[in-house]
């Protein structure tokens, strides 16, 4: 059996898989991620998750330390974005997604997610 990689919590598992898949399938995304140095915290309405982008590698973990960006949002909103019912920017403007830290790095975060939901 192929070795299971990544975390075993449901949202961490999903994010890890989806980011890995996109890195594997899309060279431009891979290049972008491989040059990214960012600690992104997603404060989901269930529990917080950190994605550590550390140039050439990334990790998804429930251990939060030294976040560069903190985004707070509801899992239902995340699913609505993926379903195309709404968009990241619209939710930010409506304050459904709150940027608690790192507003200046928002463009990088947007690039991480826009590929995943496209």
């Amino acid at each position: 059996m192929e070795e299971f990689k990544g975390p075993t919590d449901i949202f961490g598992m999903g994010l890890y898989y989806v980011i890995s898949k996109n890195i594997k399938d899309f060279s431009k995304y891979r290049d972008f991620i491989n040059n990214l140095n960012l600690n992104l915290v997603l404060e989901l309405n269930y529990y917080p998750l950190m994605i550590k982008f550390q140039k050439e590698s990334f990790e998804v973990t429930r251990e939060i330390e030294k976040p560069d960006v903190i985004m707070k949002f509801d899992v239902q909103d995340l699913l609505n974005i993926v379903e195309g019912k709404t968009g990241i920017m619209r939710l930010i403007l409506k304050r459904r997604i709150r940027i608690k830290k790192g507003f200046t790095k928002l463009l990088k975060v947007y690039k991480v997610f826009s590929q995943l939901v496209s």
């Binding site: 598992m13 898989y17 898949k21 269930y46 899992v75 995943l116």
Partner: protein
Amino acid sequence: MPQKTENHAQIKEELEKIVGQDWVSDFPEELHNYSYDMTESPPGEPEFVIMPNTVEEVQAIVEKANEYEIPLVPFVAGANVGGLTIPLKGGIIVDLKRMDRIIRVDVDDMYIILEPGVTFGHIRKLLDEKFPQFVYCYPMAPPFTSVTANALQDGLNSLSLAHGCMSEFINGIEAVLPTGKVVKIGTCACWDEHWWGRYPMPDLLGLFTGWQGMTGIVTKIALQLWPKKPFRGMLFFLSNELTPSYEMVRKITHYEILDDLLFMSLETIKMIYGVPYQKAVHLEGEPRWTGFIDFSANSKAEYKAKLELIEAAFKDLRKDDSKASLSTLEAASKALGPQIGDIARLPINLKGMLEYGGLSWLGSYFTTKTETVVKGIHIAFEIIKKHGFETCLYTRMMRGGHFYALRFLLRFSKENEGEIERMRNLTKELFEALFEFGAFPYKTPKWAQDIILQKADKNWIELLHSIKKSLDPNNIMNPGRWGMD
């Protein structure tokens, strides 16, 4: 090494005359494959395996078995997850895989006639390619498993919410009785071209469903197909509170708008995902429950109306469970990984379930009463955790909400010392606890049968035994079950 009967060589020669030398074996290496299954059931010791290709060959095998009073155990994939094809008294495994013909599809009366070796993979391929206007339905099982065995054992599939367990889909059968006679059950008993039902005549199908191969070998079966509607909706939900979630499941079921609804613990999704053994656990803060909703419609308007009803029910759930979420399965697959969608791509080899060598699933059919279901789940989870296994729950409302299928997917590693024994202890304790609540295990393993026989109505048991004795005077068909040694 299996114990050989006195006439072993003679029997082998006579069996070879029936099917040819290539299709009989008494090699220990080959018999080994039939001596066990994925469950914790103790292994058996078959003496032969034989692979017939026609109903005439099956008849001849049965006649021979009567002559020597040697047991027969019908077998296709052996994936029943209940030890049902492990021979308890030695004998001959009748492997029906060669009988894999799809006889015909009746387009007007919507049924398919097939032989016991036809698998879910076969039927799916045929319908997708040649009869796209129809659907059959699929269990949470690999494509190589037998359609006939699933129907005869009252299985639960992806249309069971609407139409009931799989025996409800049977229009008729042809079977070789334990005496060697061939019988037809249903309208096919009168007309070979009509296999459309079992009414309004005395219904003898019950002599073959749920009997675990003890009353004969089914050589043909007619199963209902259903119209495939042009619009399909697949939804995925996460929730946290058991009682409100279950009440929502029941409410939507009663709308009679669904094809399927699976209600599961989060651990089940993790297992499907491939999370390693013993790691499919509920972590603090995670959603507790998850579900998959499948519905279809004849028009966009009907689709929209059904979706609105489901969304409204879900909105009510969110009053008690504000974190609950609902999305299309496609969106959930994109956000959480395509493995989430595997539940909709049946039949499928769910790698996380079968990769550790052992799988048991104590499945039972149960009342739908909320209080009983909730209490049953809590008690079951306590027992499972106590024994150190994962709480992978998989449930489905059955036949429009007339009863409930409650099933615990218990994977284990046969390589780990002591684990088989631990699993036996778990399944026994789990069964006893749930039986007290009114849960009847389907595909009842022998050890559970022995317990049930101590508690069931004596007249029922007497009738069971007298029917078996009448049909099978030499007790050759899968003996040793239901107290009929």
